[in-house]
Symmetry: none
Subunit: 197 residues, 4 copies
Amino acid sequence: MGDAAARGRKSIGARRNPESADAILEAAEAVLGEDGYSGFSIEAVARRARAGKPTIYRWWPSKAALLIEVYKRQKRVETPDTGNIEEDLVGFLKNLFVHWRDSPSGKIFRSVVAEAQSDETAAVALADYTRGRRSHTSQMIERAKARGEVAADIDAGIVADLIASFAWRHLLTDRLDEDETTIRTAVRYITRGIMAA
Amino acid sequence: MGDAAARGRKSIGARRNPESADAILEAAEAVLGEDGYSGFSIEAVARRARAGKPTIYRWWPSKAALLIEVYKRQKRVETPDTGNIEEDLVGFLKNLFVHWRDSPSGKIFRSVVAEAQSDETAAVALADYTRGRRSHTSQMIERAKARGEVAADIDAGIVADLIASFAWRHLLTDRLDEDETTIRTAVRYITRGIMAA
Amino acid sequence: MGDAAARGRKSIGARRNPESADAILEAAEAVLGEDGYSGFSIEAVARRARAGKPTIYRWWPSKAALLIEVYKRQKRVETPDTGNIEEDLVGFLKNLFVHWRDSPSGKIFRSVVAEAQSDETAAVALADYTRGRRSHTSQMIERAKARGEVAADIDAGIVADLIASFAWRHLLTDRLDEDETTIRTAVRYITRGIMAA
Amino acid sequence: MGDAAARGRKSIGARRNPESADAILEAAEAVLGEDGYSGFSIEAVARRARAGKPTIYRWWPSKAALLIEVYKRQKRVETPDTGNIEEDLVGFLKNLFVHWRDSPSGKIFRSVVAEAQSDETAAVALADYTRGRRSHTSQMIERAKARGEVAADIDAGIVADLIASFAWRHLLTDRLDEDETTIRTAVRYITRGIMAA
DNA sequence: TGCTAATCGAGACGGTACGTCTAGTCTTTTT
DNA sequence: AAAAAGACTAGACGTACCGTCTCGATTAGCA
């Protein structure tokens, strides 16, 4: 699929060709996975997808928009539910680190963050995305609050923020191979601080 | 200074001309401060510094190297010493956010992080720099341990990591205007978790 | 034309834009005519033609190729037909010298010859061009042979070579203002040597 | 000598060091012989001679000046004296072609001619040099005049010009492997035209 | 059935920036 | 005073992408 199927792709009339869109997104993902952000260019994606550059620009107004959509297609890491907040958070971080390390997702997300530093639309898209993920992560804390494990007045969003920040920094500084002990220690410093009395 | 003083700068013999180095670093800082990372190019810096491109490449092998050195020239935020760990950390973060917001430092550091996502040398330089800052931040925790405020078995490095991660993420997602309450809450979740019994 | 008309020139689809090609060739000619070979650079041509450098490199693989094509666009000096071989050759040389002196052609051809000394492709192109011109010049001698003015066993190519050599050397050593008497004398030494008995 | 001996050459006090001058000229000759005109740069010569660029510029005001001096150091082709003008001229041209082909002289002289097309000082120097060689070549014709072989009213300078032009063009268009028959034919067309009645 | 309209791959266009090379000038240090 | 050394500004080299443009071919839906 993708590269091979692209050969000879044509217009299917006066409407968007989903095959082209798919080929472009797959090509973008492949380029990012193989060459990383530095090798990611519209030209490279167009070449690989056997698509014309205007076809890309028609549907994604900027490199950032394409990047964001590629990241959104990635599988999400689920938040575990072990009945214990420390285990939930450690498990989540471990899964996330593995996911980022072993799939193109890590490279792609690094690229999105990098792009957001110079492109406003990427920054907005990243902020939107981040907000969504935060509420998702917050559910782990809310569950713990419901169990009485975590104090009722704890702001789940801020806790989620601390956890996500820890993950981001490890991604952005190439420390996804952090050992479990360190992850667990970091998590414990937070969970201890938010426990119910 | 800088632009004007640069006019007519010449070689001062078979050794590096500090005037040129300064002019280049100042120009780089100015470009980053004004146009941000997207406007930052070796050509733009050379133009502004009235320097030849080879002069830049002679001393800074890559855009990343120049970026890092520009950041290193920036004023550092000092770690306060109030005798209370929560106040120390809140004060540090507040100062850091203000510093990043009100000087070119923020834009510059964002650029360094972005560059490190695609340039290996930038990644290494950033890792080095980060390590140094971490031990600096750790001292706040070590002092608190010495005071008996923080438990003796706490890993100061991991705490510093959590604090720095929180700061980075706010920088990278344009949330440097976070109100003090939120900062204090986040800090408290950590300090509570590391307090001596 | 040229500079002004170039404003706003755009792509006309996935094929060469003749307007751009013309603008580039005209700019190249103008640069050579005004600044000579030493001022001739791809950058200068691109600037003047308001063309991008890649547009030039797309169609002319080297400075030499552009130079040759510019020369080929120049008006040719015709070989006169007076019914007398001496008059034909003297007239030809006089016309050629005037043409080289009073149009950009001289500067351009000097540049081609110079370029051919360091660029193999220019050397090949020049050899090709020269071969074509030689057969053209030979026709004057062939006509004289047909008239019985020149001996039948004379190699017209070699005679053409002698004439062209004389012209080249005058061009390359800045002696295009040679007076007619000298030209005629030189021609006569040759024509006398090739006369029918 | 040259490259090796140059290592560690130093100033010999407040006067020109002939070793340096030699090393530079030899390096220039070697560069031209090996890489031709396209590889000939002051930097390349300085590198090879282990000399500083200013040392070259102190003694040779331009690339052209250095080029000319290098050519002047080359061995000259002597004009034969066989007692027969045709043999003299054919022998001279054959020797000259072999010399240009088998020593760096050919490449060097091509470079001088090329340089003279864009550098005025080179043009002047070449004109001077050419004048000297012309009178030298003229002696063959003058001798033939003295022998009564060539008519008394023949302008030896113009004949020398025709011969030199023929040689130049063969050099500049890479035809130094011309066979003797062609050379002899060309010479004969001229000698027949200048014979005494 | 023929026309319109939007899409597709393709690739040229004017540009900007890259990182390297050379030109020619300058100054210090050593002899 | 002249040498080596190597820095300096300046600018050309040839390449890679940017985002825009126009083409000719394609096909669905409307007339």
